[in-house]
């Protein structure tokens, strides 16, 4: 492969707008779902939280299930772009840009839920410590306040990391585009990048340190999400295994989502030469490994519940497996523990339809996991007189599917207007394959 091939193929995806019909229909469909989200959120703001299925005892419901699911999906992007970068895993180069974009969009979807779930979203800024006349101050010992800092930091850092990485590629777009106004747009976005020696010198330094910062950050974010649960006294939540097992689950689910997105992308845009079967295989191996971390988490929960001798913990775990939400629990077990085991077979790992379906199943399984964690712990906690059941409403479903629309809309815009593969990194890898980035 020559470096001009990289430029031509990747920038061509934007400048020549191939697969126009697919893009138009796909974007229209995604945008329709996004409109549904605005309807659902608008009605929520108008009528209040009563339109959702939440109530006591299950006050968290879909909003938190979906929040944790989306934020977990984001983690694979940072894992690929930061951790694999520091580990010199060269195969990350052709997928890091796309997965970083996926991270940003997943975090955007996740961020909507806690805001809407506040009930009075206009007061969200009360979580921020600022001098006010009301005598308000956040409780810094609360994991929910930690969560606000963690998620907003994560969103900001993901955006910054992504944009800095985009600068050289935006300059390539500027220099390859024909219409003057397109050149101007990319020219402004790339801030005037010229590829000068001092640009690269500071850029490389910054990039490696940002990767170093993003690495503990990605671990901290889902640990803190795990602590939102673990710091309560609720049986089924109050467990020290939550932070690590949440991080493992996030990467598990995130890699599954990368596969779900990348498999059609490489096929539709003919990127098989960049995103090869080896890339897919590596991702499936990460999925297999993190799947075992998740399975270990399930096992530990059961073991500690049994070992503790605590009747409430005993009951919560029995209730998960045999209670009214047992289908969700067994669905989760089949999707997250049983299904990924097919990836032990090298032949199956290299069969793309199998990989795609497994990844879809894992995404479903990880959604069920959050459903099981949130709903089953809340609906029957201590006093049977305070028990209750949770059912979703159409507004819950519309909001969830609607955030899917937001996610897809942003992805369609991304592949339409920005280079989906990091060209400057690919150029270096093609021209000087022996040099470690």
């Amino acid at each position: 492969m020559k470096i001009e091939t990289v430029n031509e193929r990747v920038s061509g995806m934007v400048l020549e707008w191939p697969k126009r019909r697919f893009w138009m229909f796909g974007f229209a469909g995604a945008f329709a779902l996004l409109l549904m989200l605005t309807v659902a959120a608008g009605w929520l703001l108008f009528r209040g939280l009563g339109i959702w299925g939440i109530n006591l005892p299950v006050a968290w419901g879909f909003a938190i299930v979906n929040f944790v699911w989306w934020i977990g999906i984001g983690h694979a992007g940072t894992f690929i772009s930061a951790i694999l970068f520091l580990l010199h895993q060269k195969w990350r180069t052709s997928i890091n840009r796309f997965t970083e974009a996926m991270t940003l969009f997943a975090v955007a979807c996740a961020g909507i839920y806690p805001l809407l779930h506040l009930g009075r979203p206009i007061y969200f800024y009360w979580l921020v410590p600022y001098p006010d006349t009301m005598g308000l101050w956040p409780q810094f010992r609360s994991p929910l306040v930690w969560d606000m800092f963690a998620v907003s930091t994560y969103a900001t850092i993901s955006l910054v990391f992504w944009y800095v990485g985009l600068l050289p590629d935006l300059a390539t777009m500027r220099d390859r585009a024909k219409p003057v106004w397109v050149r101007r747009c990319y020219g402004i976005l790339c801030l005037g990048w010229r590829g000068a020696g001092r640009h690269w010198e500071h850029y490389e330094k910054l990039y490696v340190i940002l990767a170093g910062l993003a690495t503990p950050l990605v671990v901290s974010v889902h640990s803190i999400v795990g602590l939102d649960f673990a710091a309560t006294l609720l049986p089924g939540w109050h467990s020290t295994v939550f932070p690590p097992y949440f991080v493992g689950g996030a990467i598990f689910c995130g890699f599954a989502m990368v596969l779900v997105l990348v498999i059609p992308l490489r096929r539709i845009y003919g990127l098989e030469a960049f995103i090869t079967l080896r890339h897919l295989e590596m991702m499936s191996l990460v999925m297999l490994a993190t799947g075992w971390i998740v399975a270990y988490g399930y096992f530990t929960e059961f073991f500690t519940a049994w070992w503790s001798g605590d009747i409430f913990d005993h009951f919560t775990n029995t209730n998960r497996a045999l209670g009214p939400y047992a289908p969700a629990f067994w669905g989760m077990m089949i999707c997250n523990v049983a299904a990924p085991q097919i990836l032990w077979s090298r032949r199956m790992r290299r069969t793309i339809p199998v990989l795609f379906v497994t990844a879809l199943i894992v995404n479903l399984g990880m959604w069920l996991e959050r459903y099981v964690i949130v709903i089953t712990s809340l609906h029957r906690d201590f006093l049977p007189s305070a028990w209750g059941m949770y059912t979703t409403t159409r507004w819950d479903l519309m909001t969830f599917i609607g955030t899917g629309g937001l996610f897809l809309t942003l992805l369609f815009l991304f592949v339409r207007f920005l280079p989906a593969i990091a060209m400057s990194e690919m150029r270096r890898q093609v021209a000087e394959p022996d040099i470690q980035p």
Binding site: E4, F140, G195, L206, S220
Partner: protein
């Protein structure tokens, strides 16, 4: 009025190795300041002023280290101060519950350090600067694609052009000031 001097002479090379060879020749020729423009980071072509500072820490790293210290202590102090100035007595637990302040200290450290790093990078690289004399050379568009450029800021244009011809540049252009 004197006619404006050109900004310099720019030559292009087809590979990073050719650029490295040309940079080596430029170093020993004493033709004046020079700068490289490449489609990906190329090692071994540091500009002359960088040579002198070799071995010193990158200013980006230094700024980020300072920011990390300031942000972490600032974030921790904010929480400690808040805990004492706005005391919340929860079952008689101590106000100085410092372990609970670590997560936000960490998050704000990462946030402040990363943003400082980006701002430092933008300042050092001179961004945003949308126009630059080298853009007047049509061939320069390939600097972000597949050619490796060397710019000589020499006042002796003839010598600079001859230098490029000797080291085998693919194209040689005058850059208007």
């Amino acid at each position: 009025m004197k006619p404006a001097l050109p900004y310099g002479i720019i030559g292009s090379f087809v590979s990073a190795d050719e650029l490295r060879a040309a940079v080596g020749a430029a170093r020993s020729s004493g033709l004046g300041d020079w700068e490289t423009f490449t489609p990906y980071p190329v090692e071994g072509v540091e500009p002359p002023e960088r040579k002198a500072s070799a071995g010193r820490r990158s200013p980006v790293a230094r700024a980020m280290a300072i920011a990390a210290v300031l942000c972490s202590s600032g974030a921790f102090a904010l929480q400690e101060w808040g805990a004492h100035d706005y005391p919340l007595d929860v079952g008689g637990r101590p106000l100085n519950s410092w372990p609970a302040f670590i997560p936000i200290t960490f998050e704000l450290t990462v946030l402040g350090t990363a943003l400082t790093g980006v701002v430092t990078f933008l300042i050092l690289a001179g961004f945003p600067r949308l126009h630059h004399p080298v853009f007047s050379v049509p061939e320069f568009r390939r600097a972000t694609q597949d050619r490796f450029f060397l710019l000589l800021r020499s006042s002796d244009l003839a010598a600079a052009k001859q230098f490029f011809a000797q080291v085998g540049a693919e194209t040689i252009d005058e850059v208007e000031a």
